[in-house]
């Protein structure tokens, strides 16, 4: 049973436009959500996070929105740049047996077209 789902395996966007990557989750006990970006042949790198007590967090071109009632979060990239082409993973963490652990989604491959 996948607790964190990224239902779109891939997304293509024109340079300069908005990219919206979506993530759904099932566990209401998740209290932090994080986005990671992964380039080919490299490990994932942390991008942005949001606490469950907030509904928005912004960092430059990247904004994460959290809708707890819908158990949905999204990452907005504005404006999109060719260098943003990568796989984006959503991750959620919750306290389990006294320690926080991440559950990752399967990723969405973003391609920004020049």
């Amino acid at each position: 049973d996948q607790q964190v789902k990224q239902n779109s395996p891939s997304l293509s966007v024109q340079e300069g436009r908005i990219s919206i990557l979506n993530c759904d989750y099932t566990n209401s006990m998740f209290d932090y959500f994080l986005w990671y970006k992964k380039y080919p042949a490299e490990g994932p790198t942390f991008l942005i996070s949001i606490s469950s007590i907030k509904d928005k967090n912004e960092d430059g071109r990247f904004t994460v929105f959290l809708n707890k009632s819908a158990k949905h979060l999204s990452l907005h990239i504005v404006p999109s740049q060719p260098g943003d082409s990568a796989v984006y993973f959503c991750a959620a963490s919750s306290l389990s047996s006294g320690t926080y652990k991440y559950i990752f989604g399967t990723g969405t491959r973003l391609k920004v077209l020049a």
Binding site: P44, T45, S49, F89, S94, L95, T99, Y102, G107
Partner: protein
């Protein structure tokens, strides 16, 4: 200035022949993690160390073991690799176990089983 280094990047072993994957970090982080990622799937946590305390995930096969001889190094041992163990293995670190602690990943070791 790589901070989490995994060696080797590619490892080929024979069915049933023990193999060890290596991870080192220069961040002086307390926590080190090992994830398994199969093609088009989410990274799956195998286990983690908080300092010298080992924490195994309930569904990690007994075939997988880990050692952390000091703060900087952590090893993943697969005692008798099967064909199903072919995957990308990712090492990650975090300063502590808080839910909002970003994890820093290495570039992974891709393991092939002949």
């Amino acid at each position: 200035d790589a901070m989490v280094i995994q060696n080797p990047r590619y490892q080929v072993t024979q069915f049933g022949k023990p193999v060890t994957l290596s991870c080192s970090q220069t961040l002086n982080h307390n926590v080190m993690y090992w994830y398994q990622q199969k093609s088009s799937q989410a990274p799956k946590l195998l286990f983690h160390y908080y300092d010298k305390d080992f924490n195994n995930e309930a569904d990690t096969p007994d075939n997988f073991q880990s050692r952390r001889p000091n703060t900087s190094f952590c090893f993943l041992d697969i005692r008798s690799p099967g064909l199903g163990d072919a995957a990308m293995y990712l090492c990650a670190t975090s300063r502590d176990l808080g839910g909002n602690q970003p994890q820093h990943f290495g570039d992974g070791t891709r393991l092939s089983i002949l």
